[in-house]
């Protein structure tokens, strides 16, 4: 009925059976509305032309049929319908017959039941009678036996009591026997068994008895205590004794604390002496530790509940060990020593760990080891820092130890910076490579510390450098003594080179080393050691120090120059008779600088190329110089001035202020350039008469030769010297240069004089 107009045979058949079942059940159902619910529900959706629905309208159906179908269809439909109706009729008949049969057989059954029930009542009454009689018999037996049973029970109780009394009277004897045979366990069991009675009647009836057994028990307690304290007894026995004592309500806790104290006391003798560990022989300490472990084991067995206290003691031991280790670590030890100490403590903690389960001693050890190793790494770095600064500060005390040159200072400090750093890493590597399993868990933190340590180390080193260079800053050069100022300049120079060395050599090498041996370990925030940042820092510091060195040096020269130009009245200068002393001072100062620079800075590898490049321009300079010397009258001097101006215009502008490099040549050149430029500026501030101008000309001319030996870029130097002369020409009221023979003569005289001085002084 749920199905709609079927389009196949199988669903049709199904429909049929279903419809039948529904109809039948609706027929038998007590509440037809309930069952008819589903058909109505479905009929709601069905249309009047649905033959299965309750709202079927034959007329309507007919209309649709007639309208929708042709004759053939109608005929077919008619035949189908007739067949279906016939089928339904047969089904209906079958049902009626079946029901009727069932009804007849039911009536038969009811008839038979009626006849059977009639004989049952009599049998039931007979059964009841029998049961009543059985009950009365049993009651009578029960009452007749009751008295005897009571009596027996009473007798039994008395017997028990008597047995107990007997036991108590026997107790002292029995205890005595037990003491003799050392069967303390039995004795304690007996005594505790008797305890309730003694408690109840101990003061009256069993007075004597109780006293005697108490005495016996006292002896037992004493014996048990002895046993407990004697180390020679087997542990099992001692444990038993402790248990028995506890059963006797003896204050065992006191005993425990006493024993613990003894244990702790024994620990005091086990001091870690790191210095002795190097002597590989099994020390007394090891034996002591073994004993201690034994004792702990015993104790644990004896007092099973004492674990926490024991763990505390064991931890205390390890903690103390580490306190000593940490002190030891700060005294410049090597990694092997540290490892030795750690190994000893590790073994110790392993031993104790075996005895004390769940004691987490290894964790405790790890913590301690962590702190110790960290301290080790830190102190190693700080030692290195200290060494380097010591080494550098020696420069300032140079006058005390004459021999300590800048070169050795630089050597020593670079070695320290590189070798020291690498050694440190190697040392830590040793720790890392140790396969005894001690530091397995520490590996990553160690790597982290090393990285962090390196970062901090270099940072602090740079700070230290800065503070060194800042120490005598500002006006110090005038305040301090001459030697000290010079030493300070040296220090700054060494700092500059050292910074460059660290940036260019030490950091990459150390980083390499790091990559090799400390590469393991994924970093959460990236590695703590950032070589790029440190390099950058040192590079800028190196540049700064170099600049500072140059500043200090040029300032000194500038002071010389200032004195030179402030003193004489240039307008009333006398004819030049010799090269001025100032030139000597200037050259001397330069010599000191060259000396310092040679000791510290590397040579420029590209020197060759550069001198080639400059040769062309220097030629043109010498050409100009010749002209400068050979013109003599005023008119010509003036036109020559114009010429130099023109030359200047067309000549490639000499780069006076180039970037300073960390090479001997560059630094010396920079200082010379700056000094000559200053000279030019000083000259420009003055006004000269002819003689003054000639003096300047002479001095500059003389300077050419010695300067040429010092500087790398002769062209620039020549240019600057020319500039000084040009400046003097411009500032001269009557610029007539010296005749070149006189110039030569004066220069030769000066050279001879200085040569003489040199030979006499040497």
């Amino acid at each position: 009925m749920m199905g709609s107009d079927g389009d196949g045979d199988a669903p049709l058949l199904d429909d049929k059976a279903k419809r039948m079942r529904d109809l039948l059940s609706s027929f038998y159902a007590p509440n037809p509305s309930m069952l008819s619910h589903s058909p109505t529900a479905s009929s709601k959706h069905s249309t009047p032309d649905d033959i299965n629905s309750s709202s079927f309208d034959p007329n309507h159906y007919m209309n649709i049929l007639v309208n929708n179908s042709n004759l053939e269809g109608l005929l077919k439909r008619h035949v189908d319908m007739a067949a279906e109706i016939k089928n339904l009729d047969t089904d209906l008949q079958m049902l009626v017959y079946e029901n009727y049969n069932k009804f007849i057989s039911a009536t038969d059954t009811i008839k038979r039941m009626k006849s059977n029930i009639l004989g049952m009542e009599g049998n039931m009454e007979y059964l009841l009678e029998k049961i009543m009689s059985v009950q009365s018999r049993s009651d009578s037996v029960n009452t007749s036996l009751f008295e005897k049973r009571e009596h027996i029970e009473k007798l039994h109780r008395t017997c028990n009591l008597l047995r107990k009394v007997q036991f108590i009277y026997d107790l002292p004897d029995r205890l005595g026997k037990c003491i003799k045979s050392e069967a303390y366990a039995d004795a304690v069991r007996f005594y505790t068994g008797a305890m309730p009675i003694f408690k109840a009647y101990g003061d009256s009836s069993f007075h004597d008895c109780k006293r005697a057994s108490d005495e016996a028990i006292a002896i037992i307690v004493k014996n048990l205590q002895e046993k407990l304290f004697s180390d020679s007894e087997p542990i099992q026995v001692r444990a038993e004794a402790a248990l028995l004592l506890k059963q006797l309500d003896f204050p065992v806790d006191n005993l425990k604390t006493k024993l613990l104290e003894r244990l702790e006391h024994s620990l005091r003798d086990i001091q870690l002496k790191p210095e002795e560990i190097k002597n590989a022989s099994p020390s007394a300490r090891e034996v002591a530790i073994l004993e201690f472990v034994e004792a702990i084991h015993a104790f644990r067995v004896i007092f099973p509940d004492s674990e926490t206290q024991l763990v505390k003691i064991a931890k205390g031991l390890i903690t103390r060990d580490f306190v000593i280790t940490e002190e030891y670590v700060t005294t410049r030890i090597c990694a092997a020593d540290l490892l030795g100490v750690l190994r000893v403590i590790w073994n110790e903690s392993l031993l104790m760990d075996e005895v004390l389960q769940d004691s987490a001693l290894s964790d405790h050890f790890l913590e301690g080891a962590k702190a110790a190793v960290k301290l080790y790494v830190e102190s190693a770095f700080s030692q290195l820092l200290l060494d380097i600064s010591d080494c550098l500060l020696k420069i300032l005390k140079r006058d005390e130890t004459e021999e300590y040159s800048l070169e050795t200072a630089l050597d020593a400090s670079t070695k320290l910076a590189l070798q020291g750093g690498r050694n440190l890493l190697l040392d830590v590597c040793k720790i890392l490579d140790d396969d005894s399993g001690i530091i397995d868990k520490l590996r990553e933190p160690i790597i982290d510390w090393v990285q962090e340590g390196l970062q901090d180390f270099f940072r602090q080193l740079e700070d230290q450098f800065q503070s060194f260079s800042g120490k005598n800053n500002s006006s110090a050069t005038q305040i301090h003594g001459l030697t000290e100022a010079a030493a300070f300049a040296g220090l700054v120079l060494v700092l500059a080179q050292l910074s460059a060395f660290i940036e260019q050599t030490a950091i990459p090498k150390i980083n390499e080393e790091l990559a090799v041996s400390f590469s393991a370990g994924p970093y959460e925030y990236g590695p703590a050691f950032v070589p790029g940042e440190i390099s950058r820092k040192f590079r800028s510091a190196g540049d700064k120090f170099l600049q500072q060195y140059i500043n200090i040096r040029t300032q000194r020269i500038s002071l010389l120059q200032k004195k030179r130009f402030a003193t004489p009245k240039w307008v009333k200068h006398k004819e030049p008779r010799e090269v001025h002393m100032f030139v000597d001072l200037f050259l001397q100062e330069l010599k000191v600088i060259v000396n310092e620079v040679k000791q510290v800075l590397p040579q420029d590898m590209r020197k060759h190329r550069r001198s080639n490049a400059s040769s062309a321009s220097s030629k043109s300079n010498s050409f100009r110089e010749e002209k400068l010397l050979h013109r003599s009258n005023t008119q010509r001097a003036r036109s020559q001035l114009l010429e130099t101006h023109l030359a200047k215009l067309f000549k490639q502008k000499v780069e006076i202020f180039t970037k300073v490099e960390h090479t001997q040549e560059s630094v010396v050149m920079t200082i010379v350039k700056l000094s000559l430029k200053s000279l030019q500026e000083f000259v420009r501030l003055q006004t000269f008469n002819r003689s003054g101008f000639q003096q300047i000309q002479l001095d500059m001319q003389f300077l050419r030769t010695p300067l040429r030996e010092i500087v790398e870029d002769e062209a620039a130097m020549d240019f600057l010297l020319d500039e000084v002369i040009v400046a003097a020409t411009e500032r001269c009221l009557d610029p007539i240069p010296l005749e070149s023979p006189i110039l030569d003569k004066l220069i030769q005289a000066k050279l001879a004089k200085s040569l003489e001085e040199n030979t006499s002084s040497s």
């Binding site: 500038s558 200053s678 009221l733």
Partner: protein
């Protein structure tokens, strides 16, 4: 850093050291420059920036009897200026007036109002009263300070008071405090000395070496800037004379002159013998300058050097801001080239 050459050039005939902004000329941006030639006829050039700002032209050319070591335009009269000059041996100082109708004359002569006689040593500079019309002038030579009272109409100048430095080192220059007209700063070899003009007595002294130039901050009281030969530029707070509140690296060679911008706070110009002009921007914090602001984390440190003008052939001794158009400055290199540049592109960024 190297800015493209955007400057407007103007050539003096001879070498020169000094250029001055004509403050009193409010209609044009004008500068006065004096040449320094020992043997030739020296000139004073009145240079004007065209209104389009693209050209410098000579507004007036006057011959000056001696080489000029210092030249300052009068702050209240655009026709008056002072010079310090030398004939090679002796120094002199004078107040000059540009003649009226000078454009019509063939070779206009400067009218000398008066000369400031009485100096014995090398005269270093003349300072005009810093604000407004006033008759006071100060002239400084190597050893002495003179306070003058100028009467332009009567063409006389009289010494009001005088004080000698009394120091082993010689005075190299000076500046008049625009915030406190009673205070004048003079630079020495190893210190900066302040004078009280009323009593003509020394007050504060600041230790710093080789000071070459000093300039007061035009907006902030107590702040002044010094340029030193070797150690660059220092900014001082006069209330804390022990340590400079800021240091700038200065120039590769001597830092010769330093000038604070009259309008923009913290914009400083310096010129040096390395033939460059550097433009600095420093943050001076709030007015109550504390040392803490100096010790701020160095990560926030920015390079105070905003630009380097390096299109010069020789040392630069003359440098001045234009007070009319404060983003414009004029520089004068020793070879007599005046270059006017605008710092607008750098300031507007800030």
């Amino acid at each position: 850093m190297q800015g493209a050459s955007s400057g407007i050039g103007y050539g003096l005939k001879y070498q020169a050291r000094c250029i001055s902004d004509v403050k009193a000329d409010t209609d044009h941006t004008t500068f006065l420059a004096g040449t320094l030639s020992l043997k030739e006829e020296n000139e004073v050039h009145l240079i004007r920036l065209s209104s389009s700002g693209t050209e410098l032209f000579c507004e007036g050319l006057f011959s000056h009897p001696n080489e000029i070591w210092d030249l300052v335009s009068c702050p209240f009269d655009q026709r008056i200026f002072s010079t310090v000059y030398s004939n090679g041996e002796t120094y002199g100082a004078a107040i000059w007036q540009i003649p009226e109708l000078y454009g019509e004359l063939n070779s206009p002569q400067l009218e000398k109002i008066t000369s400031l006689d009485g100096h014995a040593g090398k005269i270093k500079c003349i300072l005009w009263w810093p604000s407004g019309r006033h008759d006071k002038l100060i002239s400084i030579d190597e050893e002495n300070l003179y306070l003058w009272s100028l009467d332009a109409s009567k063409k006389t100048a009289q010494i009001q008071s005088q004080d000698s430095a009394g120091m082993p080192h010689k005075i190299s220059g000076g500046a008049w405090d625009p915030h406190d007209v009673n205070s004048v700063a003079a630079t020495f070899e190893s210190s900066l000395q302040l004078w009280d003009v009323r009593a003509m007595g020394k007050t504060i002294s600041i230790e710093c070496s080789h000071v070459r130039s000093v300039d007061y901050h035009p907006k902030r009281k107590h702040v002044l800037v010094t340029a030193e030969h070797e150690s660059g530029i220092h900014i001082w707070d006069l209330r804390k004379p022990k340590v400079p509140i800021q240091e700038l690296p200065g120039h590769t060679h001597w830092t010769w002159i330093v000038k604070c911008n009259p309008e923009y706070d913290g914009v400083i110009l310096s010129a040096g013998t390395d033939s460059t002009v550097n433009l600095w921007l420093v943050s001076l914090g709030n007015d109550d300058v504390s040392t803490e602001s100096q010790t701020e984390s160095p990560t926030h440190w920015v390079d105070p050097l905003i630009n380097t003008y390096s299109d010069y052939e020789d040392s630069i001794y003359g440098l001045t801001w234009s007070s009319r158009e404060p983003w414009i400055f004029a520089s004068l290199s020793y070879d007599g080239r005046v270059v006017v540049e605008s710092v607008k592109p750098f300031i507007s960024k800030k």
